[in-house]
Symmetry: C2
């Protein structure tokens, strides 16, 4: 994710070559899946054992236990240091939640202080970022016990999440079967919202979108994106067990379609994921269209940060999962859940249908949200019934 939401990246091809070096040479001993690394590695042709999982799962020497851990770090993308800390932590934990793991035994924080900050700014900003990270960790039932800090031209914030699990505590993301239903637990469009918000101060960019959106709508969307990115996917992880989820991943740097493809590629059964509905923060679709192909939001490849879980559920469980997500997540910090597609027989790829149904998700607290009751209801499209 860092690569796609951050400063100029090298070609994906270059990163592929680079990150191929991070592939395990002991695939037999470990179930590989190292975050960003695997996210790139798994773009390589050919099947790979376990590649595409959001965590690495290490069988331990001690009775049936596994060490599950993940790491992620990137650069601030919102102006509020406290919220940025929350987002960084939610984003790290999300990789555990995508495996249905609700507990975390320990977190380490990775931080770099910008050499360009004076002591005054540093003392104001960094403690807020750390506090946001720690508060989100506490919300996740864990705590930060260590870390590493360096000086760097850019601020870096991230962490490591580790947990030792019994086999029944995590759900291997490879059990999707034809007939399953795909559910997404956060709306798309965070990158569009963050960029549009920056453009409020850039007339030449703002002029491109001012015909389709008001400044107020952009500010509301930015707030919604910030809260959504700072929301833990922990509730969804718990409900994955209650409703017998078959597989899940979290939606981050490769966008919905990128991660859906990664998830499809590692299924034991010959399945395909077909996406019919796209829940998107209100007005972000219009902005994306007004910007031409800048975001590829409708194409499903717009990067998300700390996005929702994409969950494969038995057809009869999906609606219940969504309504329980809605009830448990009502109130501040909650997210919803939307049925977005189906699992059918296929060649382990994902696709979005032509003319997908766009579900405009109103920012929480907005007039629209208060009138709206469908934003977190399953609202299956005709395609699904």
């Amino acid at each position: 994710m860092s690569v796609s939401t951050s400063p100029p990246a090298p070609s994906e091809e270059a990163l592929l070559k680079l990150l191929a070096g991070l592939e395990p040479d002991r695939a037999d001993a470990t179930r590989k899946a190292g975050d960003q690394a695997s996210e790139f590695v798994q773009q390589l042709p050919g099947p790979r054992l376990g590649v595409g999982m959001d965590c690495c799962v290490i069988p331990l020497r001690h009775g049936g236990l596994s060490l599950v851990q993940t790491t992620d770090f990137f650069y601030p993308l919102v102006e509020d240091p406290y919220m940025m800390g929350r987002i960084a932590c939610a984003n790290v934990l999300s990789d555990l939640y995508a495996m249905g793991i609700t507990e975390c035994d320990n977190m380490l924080m990775l931080l770099s202080v910008s050499q360009k900050m004076n002591d005054k700014d540093r003392e104001r900003v960094m403690p807020l970022m750390i506090q946001g990270f720690r508060d989100a960790a506490e919300e996740g039932g864990t705590s930060v016990t260590g870390g590493q800090t360096v000086i760097n031209p850019w601020i870096i914030v991230g962490g490591v999440a580790s947990v030792v699990c019994q086999p029944n505590e995590f759900i291997m993301p490879d059990g999707a079967v034809p007939g399953d239903v795909l559910v997404l637990t956060k709306p798309l469009g965070t990158q569009v919202a963050v960029n549009a918000h920056q453009w409020l101060d850039q007339p030449e960019r703002w002029n491109k979108i001012k015909l389709v959106v008001t400044k107020e709508e952009v500010k509301e969307a930015y707030q919604e994106a910030m809260f959504s990115m700072g929301t833990l996917n922990r509730t969804a992880a718990g409900l994955m067990h209650k409703f017998q989820a078959h597989a899940a991943t979290d939606v981050t740097g490769f966008g919905l379609l990128g991660h859906a493809n990664n998830l499809a590629a590692q299924q034991r059964n010959e399945v395909a994921f077909v996406i019919h509905n796209l829940p998107i923060i209100a007005k972000m679709t219009a902005i994306s269209k007004a910007c031409g192909n800048l975001f590829n939001l409708i194409q499903g490849t717009s990067a998300e940060t700390s996005g929702g879980l994409l969950v494969c559920l038995p057809r009869e469980q999906a609606a219940k999962f969504c309504s329980e997500m809605k009830s448990q997540s009502s109130g501040a910090g909650g997210s919803g859940a939307w049925i977005i597609g189906i699992v059918e027989k296929g060649d382990r790829h994902a696709r979005i249908i032509d003319k997908p149904r766009i579900i405009e998700v109103p920012p929480r607290g907005s007039k629209a949200a208060n009138q709206d009751n469908s934003s977190t209801s399953p609202s299956p499209s005709p395609n699904l019934s």
Copy 2:
């Protein structure tokens, strides 16, 4: 360590304030010690539970097991990308070895690709760095199963090491008793050697030291430092158990005295560490003196990268520990061991005596080394007998 061996850092005071935020708010639940973070945190006045340990030790929900993990990342300090990868890995694992832990269940790699590199350089340099890291991990009996990579102005390399242990697998670093002997398992002076090597191409700097050292000697010292930093402390970790070590830490960014003070501060008994001997890479003392107070090598505060273990051993075991270190580490990649001081009754501080004995450690493979037999022998000074 990154802070002291890397680009301009903010005042230690500023970092103290910053990193205080990384102290655990659940000291009862965890034995805190987050690397760099704690290394700074523990500079704060007043005793703190477990502060100063090189790893965090998390009691798990599963029968008596603990999760021990550590993270570290910094910037390249040698020109050879492969060796830099090895050093980064050895440096991360060293925090586990300092607790007498010889196994590591999993490593994650933290990497940033410099945005200033073109694709050609990137494809040449980064895979070598990754390979060096992976080879050192394999030497440590573990493997790298994931990681995160971002684009950054500077190259960053580091990692996370995690292991799930039974209580008898690690040695809490708080058991020193008066009469113990202090042993160091790598020579000091790595920072001096790295800097002196850079000065070969900087006439104005070179002129300051050319009277006390030849270019050949600087090149030999640089090679020695590079191999020493790339050497795992795993042998020493194993011997800590065999010879009933009472406590240990690894010597990194705060230098020998800084880490000796940290270790002394957390002892259960009222002890003081008194350092009589300083094993130093040959000629580095002369260079340090020629540079005035630039390094504070003799004062014991010159930063080291991936330094040796400082081990408190029962008096009757120290010589045997050193000779077995010597025999096990003979040949490429090995390090030695030197008795450097004693533990006496005191106020939990460390000090270096006036006029400590300097042990000039000849670079391996150098003429001197081939003639020399004492470099890894205990050679206790009169002070110790």
